[in-house]
C-alpha cells in the first residue's frame, strides 16, 4: 500500500512511555474537554487518567493501520493527526483531520473490534493521550459520567458525518473551504494543502485555483 512503506507502525513505539514534562497543564486540557460535555469530579478524572497513557507519535507515524483493529482512542494534546481510506481505485480520501484538543480513532473498529477501514497517521509529531479498549470499558463501567461522555462522543461523530454529507451536497468546494478555515483557522498552518483538498473532496490543483480566485478578489 502506497505511503506505508518505510514508516513504522505506532505499535512498536507504545511501550516505552515517558513521563510528561508539563503533565499538569496537558491533562488540564483533557479535563476541560471532558467537563465541557459532562460534569465529572476531580477524583473521577484522576481515576480515568490512571487508565490512560501519554505517548509521542512522530511525524508520519501510524496510529492505526487499515486492516488491523483500532486498539486505542486518542486525545490530542498537541499536534495534528488525520485519518484516510484508500479505495479500490487507489485514491486516498481524507476522512478526518483532528487538531489539538480533539479525539481521534476509527470509532467503528474500536467499538466492534472489526478491522479498521482507515489509516490514522500523525501529520506532525504529536503528544496524544491513549485509552485502550480494555480501559475504555473499565472507565465506562466504573465511572458513569464517562459512559455518558463517550456515548456523546459517538453521537457527535455520527452527526458530524451527517452534516458533512449535507455540506457536500449543498455547497461548492469554495464554500466548503471557506467554512472549514473559518471554523478551524489553525488548519491552514498545520495541515498540508493536499490533505485539506482531499478532505474537501477535490484535487490539490483545484484548491490552489480556488485560493487564487479568492485572494485575487
Amino acid at each position: 500500500m502506497a505511503g506505508v512503506i518505510g514508516v513504522k507502525s505506532l505499535e512498536l513505539f507504545l511501550l516505552p512511555l515517558k513521563p510528561l514534562a508539563n503533565g499538569i497543564k496537558m491533562t488540564d486540557q483533557l479535563y476541560k474537554n471532558i467537563n465541557n460535555k459532562v460534569k465529572i469530579s476531580e477524583e473521577d478524572f484522576k481515576e480515568f487518567l490512571s487508565l490512560t497513557k501519554t505517548i509521542t507519535v512522530k511525524k508520519n507515524e501510524f496510529f492505526i493501520n487499515e486492516g488491523s483493529t483500532a486498539k486505542y482512542i486518542a486525545f490530542i494534546n498537541t499536534g495534528v493527526l488525520y485519518s484516510y481510506t484508500i479505495n479500490n481505485k487507489g485514491d486516498k480520501h481524507v476522512m478526518q483531520i483532528a487538531l489539538e484538543n480533539h479525539w481521534i480513532s476509527d470509532l467503528f473498529s474500536f467499538l466492534t473490534n472489526e478491522p479498521s477501514l482507515f489509516n490514522v497517521q500523525a501529520i506532525e509529531t504529536s503528544e496524544i493521550i491513549l485509552l485502550s479498549k480494555e480501559n475504555f470499558e473499565k472507565a465506562c463501567n466504573t465511572i458513569p459520567a464517562f459512559e455518558r461522555f463517550f456515548r456523546l462522543l459517538i453521537q457527535n461523530a455520527y452527526v458530524s458525518s451527517q452534516r458533512r454529507i449535507s455540506r457536500i451536497y449543498g455547497n461548492s468546494a469554495e464554500e466548503r473551504y471557506l467554512k472549514l478555515i473559518k471554523t478551524h483557522p489553525k488548519i491552514i498552518q498545520s495541515v498540508p494543502q493536499l490533505y485539506i483538498a482531499s478532505y474537501l473532496g477535490i484535487k490539490p490543483q483545484s484548491l490552489s485555483r480556488i485560493r487564487k480566485n479568492l485572494y485575487d478578489k
Copy 2:
C-alpha cells in the same frame, strides 16, 4: 416550508391505533430483523413487542418534522419512508431512503431529545412499528439483548454515513446509481426518481441522462 403545507403531521394520527389483520406475519419480520444481529428469546421479543405500537402512515404523511423532537424510532413493515433536510438555500437533500424491513428515525434527535434536523415522510402508505423514547429506554434497561441491538443499530448508522462519504468522493454519479440499484433493486419501483437523484447528490435531469446513457449502451 415548501412541501409541508396541506400534509398533516403524524402526531395527529398516533392515538387511534388499529389492531393488525396479519399481525403474526408482520412481527415475524421484525423478529428476524432483530435476531439477525443479536440472539433474543421469544419471551424477550414478546415483551419488547408489548412496548411498541403499529400504525399506518399515509402517503406523504410526516413521521418526523424538522425542528420538533423525534419521539419515535420506526421499523418499516411495509412501505417506504425517506428523510431529508432543507438547507438555508432552500434545496432539499434526501438523507435516507428506508425500505421495508429497515429502521428509520432521526437517531440524533431521538437519542438526545434535541430538535430534529430532518423531515421523515412516507413515500407510500406504510405500516410501521413504533417504539417511543420512553419505551426504548425501558427495553434497553430491562432486556440486555435490546440494549446491544440498538447500540449496533447506531454504530451501523454511523458507519454507513462514513461509507457514503467515501462513495461520494470516490465514485461518479453513474457508479453510485448502479451500486444503489444493485444493492436495493426494489428502490426503482417504489421511490420516485427525483428522490433517488437527490439521495445520490445530483439533479433529476442528470439522473435521466445517466439512465439514458446506460440503456443506450
